[in-house]
């Protein structure tokens, strides 16, 4: 299903790990070069800034191409425009596949832009052809288009779009087609989020999902956010108001208030217990959302005093923790992640060197990598 050569993607991951290990000086440049030679990557990925430049230029070229095409074949009807857009979107997709297959483009800017442009053009075209498309149909079409982009190209933007469209589809279906839809809506969205989270979390660590790891991590974060939002009082009140009017009393108000306040704290605690950065960061962001929600309805303190007290608590707490965790405690540290002693618990060198030697075919002087014991540094480079 994925458009790229699986072995090259694996090797890319290995090279990236090796580069990180080299940056932290746990393997020598020679070992790094051996790993690179043993795991060649046959994909074309330019520098990050070149990629951005290529995205800009490709979008300019495709938009002007679509414009020229429309200008030359201008028909009077919306349907005509829609057909042309779909045709042009499919052409973009064909060009994309050619780039990926013949030129091995991978996150090269041109392919990113073509994925997004093909998706937008086809979706826009369908929208023009079917003038009165319902929100549910539109969302499902988007789920299919973006889902394909995410599955075939492991594109992160497409992953988020597909998930958002899925939530939108469920939202409209439940509200429009189900009796008492507005009453069960939050629970349905929560259930969808839980399922998405439970699928994405093990898959991100599994071997089968390794090429989609960054997409799945984003999906996890998105699922955590939608779970929170479906239980947030502000969201519940606004949706309720859109159906029953602004003054309507929100049913189960205590439940939404409880979820608004407890869920972020729960995320943070779970993140700390499992040492899971995604849970931790999402939780931290959602605390801000919870505070915003509370302040929207209750003015417990004048804003300036709330800020002053909050600021003092944050400064004191963070500064205290930074000092306290300077010496690692309970597996936590306040030192920068790339500081050497963080790595001491990681046996990066032994693992990396063992890997490199195990897979290099030509005979190597075995003493070189292992004999040094702790370093592998000075002795190894001397013989080269």
């Amino acid at each position: 299903m994925i458009a790229y050569n699986s072995e090259s993607l694996d090797n890319l991951a290995i090279q990236q790990d090796a580069a990180e290990a080299l940056k932290r000086a746990v393997i020598t440049p020679e070992e790094y070069e051996q790993i690179r030679q043993a795991h060649p990557v046959r994909l074309y990925t330019p520098n990050f800034f070149v990629r951005i430049g290529l995205i800009v230029l490709t979008v300019v070229a495709v938009v002007c191409g679509a414009g020229l095409f429309l200008l030359l074949t201008m028909g009077p009807s919306d349907r005509g425009i829609g057909t042309i857009l779909i045709f042009f979107g499919i052409s973009c997709y064909v060009v994309l596949e050619l780039f990926v297959h013949l030129r091995r483009f991978f996150r090269a800017g041109v392919d990113d832009a073509l994925i997004w442009m093909a998706g937008s053009l086809i979706f826009g075209g369908i929208y023009f052809v079917d003038g009165n498309m319902s929100a549910v149909t539109g969302s499902w079409i988007l789920v299919v288009l973006a889902g394909w982009g995410a599955l075939r190209y492991a594109d992160r933007v497409m992953t988020l779009v597909a998930y958002g469209a899925l939530i939108s589809a469920v939202y409209h279906m439940v509200l429009d087609d189900v009796a008492f839809g507005s009453a069960i809506l939050p629970f349905v969205i929560m259930a969808v989020s839980v399922v998405a989270y439970l699928v994405a979390t093990p898959l991100a660590l599994a071997e089968a999902g390794r090429h989609y790891r960054s997409c799945l991590l984003l999906l996890r974060m998105a699922a955590l956010v939608t779970f929170y939002l479906s239980g947030n009082f502000y969201v519940a009140q606004k949706i309720n108001a859109s159906i029953h009017g602004e003054t309507a009393i929100v049913p189960l108000g205590w439940l939404w208030w409880g979820l608004t306040c407890i869920v972020p704290v729960f995320y943070i605690l779970a993140g700390l217990r499992r040492k899971d950065a995604i849970l931790l960061w999402t939780g931290m962001g959602l605390v801000a959302a919870a505070i915003g929600t509370i302040r929207y309805y209750y003015h417990l303190l004048p804003a300036e005093w709330a800020m002053i007290f909050g600021g003092i608590i944050l400064i004191a707490g963070a500064y205290g923790l930074i000092r306290y965790l300077r010496v690692p405690k309970e597996g936590f540290t306040s030192a920068a992640p790339d500081e050497p002693h963080v790595l001491e618990t990681l046996h990066v060198e032994s693992l990396a060197v063992a890997e490199a030697l195990q897979s290099v075919a030509q005979p190597l002087d075995q003493g070189k990598g292992f004999g040094g014991g702790s370093g592998g540094g000075g002795g190894a480079s001397g013989t080269y």
Binding site: V50, L68, M307, I312, S334, T345, L351
Partner: protein
């Protein structure tokens, strides 16, 4: 399977660093506290009185700088790192409250009168000193912004764009000159090894300032636009080849895109002049030129990578 081995690198019982999380909270705390104090003062300005507020701001400035002076190791021209987690924030707090202090006394008491030059020159000197003495990139950015203000430009490049401030000839010339000066500063810091890591900040400000001013000039001076274009392209070529030598992908991409804007302007302008203007032709031009530019970027990327390999 090899992947599983490498996966162990990431998942094996490792020490979990809360470095960025704690620093983010610290930053948020500083932000909240200063905003809250600001609103408090604003609301009670009648009962507190200006002198008291000014005294407080001055005290904050002095206290921050005093704290930093105590923490900083002896000055040298290399990159210095300070272990204290509050140090960076203290420098920033000192610089910002200094700017607020100057703005306050000028607004309330008109201390500098119409000598706006002096009102921007003084903080600029202090900020540059702070940037070099405390080795702080944030202070350097503030100082450069102040330099631009002093030299007569509203503020940062972004605001030049937003303000649509393209009109004034004087501003265009000053912008280009200042851009060149900043680029020279950057060049000097790197070759003389005077805080070499400041080079990126100087060059970044200088590059954007220069090209935005030069493009504004190109748009404005209709009669001699070809001369402007030639000069702009020449300098783009010079800066581009220098960036190429230093293997800076970021600067190369930025320069190529600015040059592309200039080229497109000239092409469209000549189409209008020679009355061959049609939408089809314009769209054709953009399709072909964007493709050409993309190929050029791919080519440059390959050259740079090859060069990279040779260097190793």
């Amino acid at each position: 399977m090899r992947i599983s081995t490498f996966k162990r690198l990431h998942t094996e019982d490792r020490l979990f660093s809360l470095y960025w999380e704690l620093r983010l909270l610290l930053y948020l705390g500083v932000l909240l506290l200063t905003t809250g104090l600001g609103i408090l003062v604003y609301k009670h300005i009648d009962t507190i009185g200006h002198q008291a507020v000014l005294a407080f701001i001055a005290a904050v400035t002095l206290a921050s700088f005093f704290y930093c002076v105590r923490k900083i190791p002896p000055f040298n021209w290399d990159k210095t790192t300070v272990a204290d987690p509050l140090f960076d924030y203290a420098v920033l707090l000192g610089c910002l409250s200094l700017l607020i202090f100057i703005g306050y006394i000028q607004y309330e008491y008109d201390v500098f009168g119409d000598h706006y030059g002096l009102a921007t020159f003084l903080p600029m000197v202090v900020l540059f000193c702070a940037a070099y003495y405390f080795d702080h990139l944030g202070a350097l950015s503030l100082a450069i912004t102040n330099l631009a203000a002093w030299a007569g430009i509203a503020v940062t490049p972004l605001q030049i764009l937003r303000g649509g401030n393209f009109g004034d000839t004087r501003l265009i010339i000053i912008g280009m000159l200042l851009g060149c000066v900043l680029l020279t500063f950057g060049h000097l810091s790197s070759i003389r090894r005077l805080k070499g890591h400041f080079e990126l900040t100087y060059s970044n400000f200088g590059l954007h300032l220069f090209f935005i001013a030069a493009l504004a000039g190109l748009f404005k001076f209709d009669g001699i636009y070809l001369i402007w274009f030639a000069v702009l392209m020449g300098i783009a070529w010079y800066l581009g080849s220098r960036a190429f030598g230093r293997r800076s992908f970021y600067f190369i991409v930025v320069i190529v895109l600015y040059a592309y804007i200039a080229l497109s302007y000239v092409v469209l302008h000549s189409m209008l002049t020679y009355t061959v203007f049609s939408f089809e032709l314009v769209l054709m031009y953009f399709i072909l030129s964007a493709t050409g530019m993309a190929l050029f970027l791919v080519y440059l990327n390959r050259q740079l990578k090859r060069y990279d390999r040779l260097q190793q």
